[in-house]
């Protein structure tokens, strides 16, 4: 018995070691990004290349440049506004759909649900041409909030699917009791579904936030004005102009973009996990 415990201890140590090694590999690119952002642009092609900058070279000039010279704050606020609007709209719209689909029988329900699932299978990018046409017809091109309805449309299927699974797990009796008390469907949605499904809505919203925060191809296609650019376009715009890439600026901006997301993730990581697993384990 004692031998077995010892063996177990040994494997635990081995596992931890392997995991630690893997964790370092996972982190390397981000660390390198930060270390590049901290050195002057002139030191980028120094020889030999270094993973960490020389101590005497460490500088915040890239960050200062990004915060003062570029439209970083503007881009940041643009991304924030778009992401928050997207999650608010997506949360209200898909929780309502999820409740209707998860709790009621009505004509065409299974067809509707299959249709929603089907669109989950098709990558949003494939529709970029007709969606662009639509954006033009609706006057949504080159408008910051013109991005929102498209983002909402992209995340609706997945959000609805996730929240529906959660709503179906709420005990039937709770709903029945409310209806017997004379509550209307809308009242039940507000007083039961929203509060009880809050964890699912929260975790879905975190994913939706990420989707909107990092979305690049669509925003790059429909946004023209410099002041309307979101962070991903601004970062990519720094890159590759004139055969001359200022990596220090690129990575300083990237670091500043990544920070809020990492903070958000560390605070809400429990919800992240719940949101992911709700759909997958039931499968």
């Amino acid at each position: 018995m004692a031998g077995k415990v010892l063996k177990k201890k040994k494997t635990t140590w081995l596992f931890t070691l392997i995991l630690a090694l893997g964790a370092i590999i996972s982190m390397l690119p981000m660390i390198y990004m930060l270390s590049t952002a901290l050195r002057p642009n002139g030191a980028l092609y120094e020889f030999p290349p270094r993973f960490f900058p020389r101590m005497e070279n460490v500088t915040l000039e890239n960050f200062q440049y990004i915060l003062s010279q570029s439209k970083f704050l503007r881009n940041f606020l643009n991304s924030l506004a778009v992401s928050l609007t997207t999650i608010a709209a997506a949360a209200s719209v898909s929780s309502a759909m999820a409740y209707a689909l998860g709790r009621f029988q009505f004509w065409g329900k299974s067809f509707l649900f299959s249709l929603i699932i089907l669109t989950m299978i098709i990558p949003g990018m494939t529709m970029i041409v007709p969606q662009f046409e639509l954006a033009v017809q609706l006057g949504l091109v080159n408008r910051l909030f013109g991005l929102v309805p498209f983002y909402v449309a992209w995340v609706i299927p997945f959000s609805t699917f996730m929240i529906k699974g959660y709503v179906e797990g709420i005990p039937k009796e709770i709903f029945e009791a409310s209806f017997i008390d004379g509550a209307s469907i809308i009242m039940v949605y507000r007083s039961i579904v929203l509060p009880l499904a809050a964890p699912a809505i929260a975790s879905v919203s975190i994913f939706n936030f990420l989707t909107a925060w990092e979305e690049y191809p669509w925003a790059n296609t429909v946004i023209n004005n410099t002041e309307l650019r979101t962070l991903p376009i601004a970062i990519a715009g720094f890159f590759g102009q004139h055969q001359f890439t200022q990596w220090g600026y690129v990575f300083a901006m990237s670091t500043l973009t990544l920070l809020p997301v990492v903070a958000l993730f560390i605070v809400f990581q429990r919800y992240f996990v719940q949101g992911l697993t709700a759909g997958s384990v039931k499968g």
């Binding site: 209200s92 910051l144 102009q241």
Partner: protein, 415 residues
Amino acid sequence: MLKPKRFLLVLCLIMSVVIIVPAVHASEPVTLNFWHHYSAQSKENETLTNVLIPQFEKENPDIKVNAVSHEWAELHDKILISVSTNQLPDVMRADIAWLPEFQQLGVLVPLNKEMADFDSVAGQLLDSAMSTAKIAGDTYGLGLNTNSKILFYNTDMLNAAGVNVPTTTDEWAAAVRKLSGNNAQGQQVWGWNEPGLSGWNLAPFIWSFGGSLTNDEQTAASGHINSAETVNAIETFVSLVSEGALTGFNSGDIPMTDGFGTGRYAMMLEGPWKIAELTGAYPDVAYGTAMMPAGKGGSVSVLGGEDIAMFNSANKEAAWKFMKFMTSEFAQTQMATVGQIPVSKAALDSQTVQEQEFAPFLEAIQTAKARPTVAAWSKMDNELMVAVNAVIQGEKSAQQAMDDLAVVFDGLLKE
């Protein structure tokens, strides 16, 4: 308690806020959207946004200019997207090679027909620059700046290798080979940097070697893009690539300015903006300039430059004012100090411009040729890149690739 009706109302409100609010964006008197490809972090862009536009807005308080910087290739794509959806800006700074394509789409304003004072405005600009905007008898833009590429060489590297500045294409190929190898730190060094495989990059070689892209009428390419001279140019280029003497067009290569500034590329063919760029980023590098080496076809560089043009959908009066401003002596002189060769005759004569190091570029322009001024050029450009890449990858011989390309070019020129 929220009633169904009110709930619906709230939802509709949310929806309409999301969709409509951006649409009722406050409208200023007149806002001119101006798209260009001065790099976002460049001196040119600084001059544009900090000097020129404020000055223009001071002179014209009822007009606001919204200048948007796009990357070069992306600007072309953005225009195409916007044509398909009527979302064009008012004014654009267009590479002279794009004008025929946009003109064919029917979105450009024929200035000579619609602007009363066109002749007097055009008369103040170089004829050679104005001719770049002339398509089938009408003029669709004003020359904005002109340029050509000349040879830049790293003086120390040439001295160290005992190589003279090449003046002929044979000397050039030999010099490129001799300058390649490893430096003291064991890093690879290349004799030549060529940052792309498009016509802008390859045409100077094709022409100087005595070849051509199309016939003079620009109606067919067979016998030109696959002539012995053109094939010879491509073969020479590709053999330098495969010997590790020429690079720059790969995704993984050191960017041109960085590589030249840090002594990894010994020579390159570049335009006037490179001087300001090198002064800013690598002030210590010692370099000289020379003409494109001459071959069977002479020393032929590529004519570059931009026109400023307006679209049909523009506020024409305001757009024309801005175009006149950008080609005025003041604006042209300002831009000259950051590496843009003016096309305004008055600006060219001015003291400030005379002090710039434009002489070798102006000399190169004398013998430089323009890329084909046809609507299909962007597509031809892409096909040329694909064809030359096939030779580099060893999939086809240069002759074979150019023969195939001739068929493709002929087809595109007929469209």
